[in-house]
């Protein structure tokens, strides 16, 4: 029935068939485009920030503009790129394919969620036009309620809508994974990417509504003055921090867990070896999801949080380190005695490993009470969270390279893909290792001016940022080149055994004419490489 050229891209035509589509693959692509646009915008802000910091005094913008730049850089990166990047774009595309399903459980809700996202994003961008926001992405009271510019209201409303977009996506994923698994696919026969998405969805469901009510309270506080968070009216600003971090710490794992899922896929498929200790990786995802709810107080050790709470939160914080360490060791063990092809996705996977290791290990300084006091709110924290957030971006790009042949039906230049990755990672190290040093020497974050002794380090950091941008442009170049001139991709270019590689590239509108039998998603022994089609074919 399926004509070879009939795929989800050509199934129907016209702009309306895209904007009103209920196909998870098209919605995933629309997310991808929107998210990449936001990434570009936030990236430009980052470069402006690094340019401003070339000299201790004013370089290109005023202090007020600088404050708006870092706020929007943070808010757009987090809410429009890092949080939705993997689940909404890649997850939407891949999840039903990996389940062997025709779509997510609620396709209309999926489309609605996308438009909520677009509307929220538009409100955030609008705030730039009405004058910007200068609160930092954390919106701490009473600065955000009393002093900040009026642009804070559209931003808060925007983030509120984005939160609900995220909740609905999570809801959709939970129900899809529960109810739409292909016959024979037990919980422990799901690809690990789905475990990552499932754990993420749990957190989206349980944490994001608290962000919703926090932002709602902040809007009401600002517009009506209810005095819950505003000390001027009898409120408690530290209570706001509890509310905010109850969401925003789990949010860190909302960002990281899908990335870990991607890495599990990448490491196993490109090492052509069964993932090491499937169950430990699956359970550690759930463990991270649950533990992450108990640790938010480590953002508040110097805020006036009581010593008792500090102690509890510090102790609980270290609990998250264990499942994270387990995952890292499992990935290494997967590579051990594998057959590693250093493809572009694999380059990004090992880049993730090395960056995220530093991100996780430097978290020890922040979890420990004694050292936290010195390094919190300095560039050390800035460097630490970039060493955890940027790996998420790395996994996103790696995942994009991994599934790109499936999404577009085209291959790309492996050579330039690898060069882009190397340039980006080298630039990243230069940018942020210098910031660790500045931080331990006492350079406070969000500072427009700095003491002249930090000049050399700041300039190195800015140079690194430029290299990062170059690496990203090279990556973008490979994608564009692939769209224009890429060779046709095989159905299974890497030799993966999960369902998405068993339908054509690009997949047909209904994904599978017949759902293939569910087996071990990491048992790749049945697949044989055929150089003439640049892909793998199942042994007959």
């Amino acid at each position: 029935m399926a004509h070879p050229s009939d795929n989800y891209l050509t199934h129907t035509r016209g702009i309306k068939s895209w904007l009103l589509t209920l196909d998870h693959k098209r919605i995933g692509i629309m997310y991808l485009v929107t998210i990449l646009g936001a990434f570009l915008l936030a990236g430009i802000f980052a470069l402006l920030i690094r340019t401003e910091l070339l000299t201790p005094g004013q370089t290109i913008v005023t202090a007020d503009t600088y404050n708006r730049l870092f706020t929007l850089h943070g808010a757009i990166m987090i809410f429009l790129f890092v949080i939705p990047g993997i689940p909404s774009a890649l997850g939407n595309f891949v999840l039903p394919l990996q389940l062997g399903a025709k779509d997510v459980a609620f396709p209309r809700l999926n489309l609605f969620s996308y438009y909520l996202f677009v509307f929220g994003a538009a409100l955030m961008v609008l705030s730039i036009i009405v004058g910007g926001v200068d609160t930092g992405w954390t919106f701490y009271t009473p600065y955000s309620t009393d002093k900040a510019r009026a642009g804070v209201i559209p931003v808060l409303t925007g983030v509120f809508l984005l939160g609900f977009s995220s909740i609905f996506t999570g809801l959709n994923f939970i129900v899809s994974i529960h109810k739409l698994r292909a016959p024979g696919m037990g919980w422990f026969r799901m690809p690990l990417f789905l475990w990552g998405l499932y754990a993420t969805a749990i957190m989206q469901i349980l944490a994001t509504p608290v962000l919703g009510i926090t932002l709602l309270l902040l809007i009401v506080e600002r517009v009506l003055g209810v005095g819950i968070f505003d000390p001027g009216l009898g409120g408690d600003p530290v209570l706001f921090q509890h509310f905010f971090w109850f969401y925003s710490h789990p949010a860190v794992y909302i960002m990281v867990l899908p990335a870990m899922g991607v890495i599990s896929e990448l490491v196993s498929v490109h090492s052509h070896k069964h993932i090491f200790s499937y169950k430990m990786i699956a359970w550690s995802s759930v463990a991270i999801a649950v533990f992450s709810f108990f640790v938010w107080g480590h953002h508040m050790f110097v805020s006036g949080q009581s010593a008792m709470a500090n102690m509890i939160f510090s102790a609980l914080t270290f609990s998250v380190a264990i499942p994270t360490a387990v995952k890292v060791f499992n990935w290494l063990a997967t590579m051990f005695r594998g057959a590693i092809t250093l493809t572009t996705p694999m380059c990004y996977a090992v880049a993730f490993l090395s960056l995220f290791a530093i991100g996780g290990l430097t978290g020890m300084f922040l979890g420990s009470l004694a050292t936290n006091v010195h390094v919190t709110d300095t560039y050390f924290v800035v460097a630490h969270f970039h060493f955890t957030m940027v790996p998420v971006g790395v996994a996103f790009i790696g995942g994009l390279y991994h599934w790109w042949p499936k999404i577009t039906g085209r291959m790309y230049s492996e050579k330039w893909g690898r060069i882009g990755c190397a340039v980006f990672v080298a630039g990243f190290y230069v940018t942020f290792v210098t910031q660790f040093i500045m931080g331990t020497h006492g350079m406070p974050r969000r500072s427009y001016h700095y003491l002249p002794e930090f000049t050399a380090l700041h300039q190195m950091s800015s140079a690194g940022a430029l290299a990062m941008a170059t690496g990203l442009f090279i990556a973008a170049g490979t994608f564009i080149h692939s769209l224009v001139k890429g060779l046709p991709a095989a159905a299974n270019p890497w030799g993966g055994a999960s369902f998405e590689w068993q339908c054509p590239s690009p997949p047909p509108h209904d994904n599978f004419t017949e759902t293939p039998p569910a087996g071990d998603p990491y048992d790749m022994s049945d697949w044989e490489y055929h150089p003439e089609i640049r892909g793998y074919v199942r042994k007959t």
């Binding site: 529960h178 349980l206 608290v210 003055g225 005095g227 505003d230 000390p231 001027g232 009216l233 009898g234 408690d236 530290v238 209570l239 509890h242 109850f246 709810f293 108990f294 107080g297 006036g304 949080q305 009581s306 010593a307 008792m308 709470a309 509890i312 939160f313």
Partner: protein, 114 residues
């Protein structure tokens, strides 16, 4: 397809009207009871009585009006998880805020006088 749909979905539990009426009656009695309980001063115990009655009422609604008793157990797990995480949230925040009360300036609210 239509035939199949009506057969497979027609099997959900239909709660007898008798049960619904009994639950409704119990809820009304509990409401009267909780108002009456405030007339008796039992100190801090009043709060527990009020919350206990509320929980009993909520359980009745959940089990019978919302069919949780006859439903897939996982739906109950979802609901209980939500309550559990609210409890975690409130209790950890309370652990902190009750501790730091001595540091607060009593009655600080300068903007109210404006």
């Amino acid at each position: 397809m239509n035939e199949k749909a009506s057969h497979s979905a027609a099997r959900p539990h239909v709660v007898p009207l008798r049960v619904l009426l009994a639950v409704w009656g119990a809820l009304m009695v509990f409401t009267a009871l909780t108002v009456a309980a405030t007339e008796v001063d039992l100190g801090a115990f009043n709060l527990f009585i009020a919350l206990g009655i509320a929980t009993a009422k909520a359980s009745l609604v959940l089990l019978y009006f919302m069919h949780l008793r006859y439903d897939k157990p996982f739906n109950a797990v979802v609901f209980i998880c939500a309550l559990l995480f609210v409890a975690i949230f409130i209790s950890l925040v309370l652990v902190d805020t009750t501790q730091y009360q001595p540091e607060l300036i009593p009655g600080y609210a300068p903007e109210l006088l404006k």
